[in-house]
């Protein structure tokens, strides 16, 4: 059987983490191809519903990346993300989904290497968790 290759969705804020991902690309930092980025202006605009929708639809992991605390382009947007995402993790746990399938981290525009590390680590972790039990479940 082929090795499990997870599908991962990432939300990156336009100003820091998306730019950090760009820098990783420009620097040719290699990482597993499991991650698919949706660009948002601020990590604080990521609705919990998006995460729940992705997970319930079978996406194996969701990564939310924002600017470091204190560096948010919108001043305090990421403070909200920092409070909101742990709550979403609680919800996931509550319904029997491993909360590790959602990860929140901070990557600045100058942290191409950190982006690479976060992605690589997260892909490894989700591989360990195995396929999302919601995969293929039809509502």
């Amino acid at each position: 059987m082929a090795e499990f290759s997870p599908t991962i969705l990432a939300f990156c804020c336009n100003w820091c983490s998306y730019a950090g991902a760009d820098l990783a690309g420009v620097s040719r930092l290699q990482m597993p191809p499991n991650i698919h980025i949706i660009r948002v202006m601020c990590s604080a605009s990521v609705k919990p519903e998006y995460v729940l929708k992705a997970i319930s639809g079978g996406v194996d992991g969701v990564l939310v990346l924002g600017c470091h605390i204190g560096d948010c382009h919108y001043m305090t947007g990421n403070h909200r993300t920092a409070k909101r995402m742990p709550l979403v993790q609680k919800v996931l746990k509550e319904v029997g989904i491993d909360e590790k399938r959602l990860r929140l981290d901070w990557v600045s525009a100058s942290e191409g290497e950190k982006f690479q590390k976060v992605v690589t680590d997260f892909v490894d972790e989700v591989k360990q968790l195995g396929p999302n039990p919601m995969r293929g479940v039809k509502w």
Partner: protein, 562 residues
């Protein structure tokens, strides 16, 4: 039904050497509403752009997807092409298959090709739901406010006033000049700082466009680009100044050592600015030892303050030029005499017998009181020996640190600071002297310790940038702002609290209470969108439907694969 065109870029071999372009294009053709999928060697070239434009016209496309590099650099270009072809620029969607795919999966061409397909499926899904947007314009108050009356602020204010723009200069002290007021001569040409400041003050006082507020403090700032209101308090009265643009030029201050090297215990140990004051009053020491990097480039304050080496070189030269019998040493960790003019000062100092000794953090110098004066004991790395330097004066070259009220000011202006308390400009290369907050500009040592030349250059740059909206008389607001659907909105006020810009208020119109977004105040972060429990709040270009459709597309393309 939307008519989507997908244009996949080879970017020469940058994308094409990893991603199978032909396969991706064939895949894109099968996506919903895609009427045409093409590829270009270089989409951003003149040829690529005109081929996209022709295809839009020929195929009557009303949604355009380009799969290429990053929107952060190339989105404006393709948006322009859409406009030229008669398609609203907000009907364009960018898919990044270079930085986020080809370049980071070089050794996995098959997986990279699959991923590119998924990313394009997501982009097309969003594009189908994009809506044309109209950018709004708002008027600009033709007045500028400059905060800080040091060299940078003076330069900026004088430049604005000379352009005929009404300018208010706010200085919290009773006199203008800032830190430079304590500095008699300027490196590297040894001109008098008094002449420079005097000239700028004269220009301002003689201008009918400039008003100087001394002993005045900014206590409140409200509004947004074009329509700020700056509240200034001083001498027991308050004044509200309406302004179109604000320049922040509050500078920095000298770091005061806390007991290091016998500072405050021994009268012979002084800071650089104290030496400046002494030299200005004709009090020139015969023997002096400068210790560089006191309180900088070490854990807790890692940065290089940049101007201290040149200041020490300048003052060492002032001593040796005045007193042939002098003995001056500079103990340093690296001499940063950047720039050709300053490098000449370093050579001159060397030639005139100034001794340079290098120390490391592992063995820092010691200042010791002896019977007949003070001695600096230093371990010289170069000769691997301890050296004792008898001296009359020890000058501690301490870094410039941020003003103690910088954070408060940052909060008033809603602009960010770095971990050292210096203000963060929007982008060092792409948007120098600008803040990410439109209409607010940053210059001088408030941004980072800067030399006289740099302060003036940045002051002029900020004045030029600030004059753009004022001269134009109007500003365009990018159409990524949020708005609430009054029918869904329950007027709960979550968004009002969430908004970092105080752009939302609950209004009552036609008997219905709902959240209304002030479009010019809204910066398009979308924080309110996620705070809305009713899905009433939507950000243009990032609606929940659009983003959900991208998630659906990812799920669907993954299912098809397995």
């Amino acid at each position: 039904m939307a008519r989507v065109g997908v244009f996949v870029c080879h970017c020469g071999l940058n994308i094409a050497s990893t991603v199978d372009i032909e396969k991706v294009v064939a895949y894109a053709r099968g996506l919903p509403d895609v009427v045409v999928a093409e590829h270009n060697l270089y989409s951003c070239s003149e040829e690529g752009l005109s081929s996209i434009r022709k295809s839009i016209e020929k195929n009557k496309l009303d949604r355009v997807v380009v799969a290429a590099c990053t929107p952060r650099t190339h989105e404006p270009l393709f948006r322009k092409t859409c406009e030229l072809a008669g398609v609203n620029k907000y009907l364009f969607e960018f898919v990044n298959i270079r930085e986020h795919c080809a370049w980071i999966h070089i050794k996995e061409p098959l997986s990279a090709t699959d991923k590119a397909e998924k990313l394009i499926a997501m982009g097309v899904a969003k594009a189908r739901l994009l809506e044309p947007q109209k950018e709004t314009e708002s008027s600009v108050i033709p007045t500028a406010v400059v905060i800080g009356g040091g060299l940078t602020g003076l330069t900026a204010a004088a430049s604005l006033a000379a352009q005929g723009i009404d300018t208010h200069l706010i200085e919290r002290e009773e006199k203008l000049g800032g830190v430079l007021g304590d500095v008699e001569v300027i490196s590297p040409e040894f001109s008098k700082s008094g002449d420079l400041i005097g000239q700028l003050v004269k220009e301002l006082k003689g201008s009918r466009h400039a008003k100087v507020h001394l002993g005045a403090k900014v206590v409140a700032v409200s509004g947004f680009i074009g329509n700020f209101e700056v509240t200034v308090e001083g001498k027991g009265k308050q004044e509200k100044i309406p302004a179109g643009a604000i320049i922040l030029a509050t500078g920095a201050q000298e770091f005061m050592p806390k007991g290091e090297y016998g500072f405050k215990e021994m009268p012979e140990v002084v800071t650089q600015l104290e030496l400046e004051r002494r030299l200005a009053s004709g009090n020139v020491p015969r023997r002096a030892v400068f210790i560089q990097c006191v309180g900088s480039r070490q854990p807790g304050r890692e940065y290089c303050s940049r101007i201290c080496c040149n200041a020490s070189l300048k003052n060492a030269l002032r001593i040796v030029r005045t007193r042939p019998d002098s003995r001056v040493s500079i103990i340093h960790r690296d001499i940063m005499s950047y720039g050709t003019a300053s490098e000449r000062l370093y050579r001159e100092a060397s030639d005139r017998g100034v001794v340079f000794l290098r120390y490391g953090l592992e063995r820092i110098p010691k200042v010791v009181r002896k019977k007949d004066g003070v001695v600096v004991e230093v371990y010289d790395e170069t000769i691997d020996e301890m050296v004792d330097l008898d001296t009359d004066l020890v000058v501690l070259a301490t870094p410039m640190v941020s003003r103690e009220d910088a954070r408060d000011l940052g909060k008033l202006l809603k602009v960010p600071l770095d971990k050292y308390g210096f203000f963060l400009e929007a982008h060092v290369k792409l948007r120098p002297v600008e803040f990410a907050t439109d209409g607010v500009f940053i210059a001088g040592s408030a941004r980072w310790p800067s030399s006289v030349t740099e302060c003036m250059g940045q002051g002029l740059a900020a004045a030029a940038k600030a004059s753009i909206p004022i001269r134009r008389g109007k500003v365009v607001v990018e159409a990524i702002t949020a708005s609430a659907d009054p029918d869904r909105c329950a007027a709960c006020g979550n968004c009002v609290i969430a908004c970092p810009y105080e752009a939302i208020e609950i209004v009552e119109e036609h008997g219905k209470r709902y959240a209304k977004v002030n479009e010019t105040k809204c910066k398009g972060c979308g924080t309110c969108v996620a705070a809305c429990p009713n899905d009433a709040m939507q950000q243009r270009g990032f609606t929940s439907q659009q983003l959900s459709s991208m998630i659906d597309a990812l799920i669907k393309s993954t299912e098809e694969e397995t």
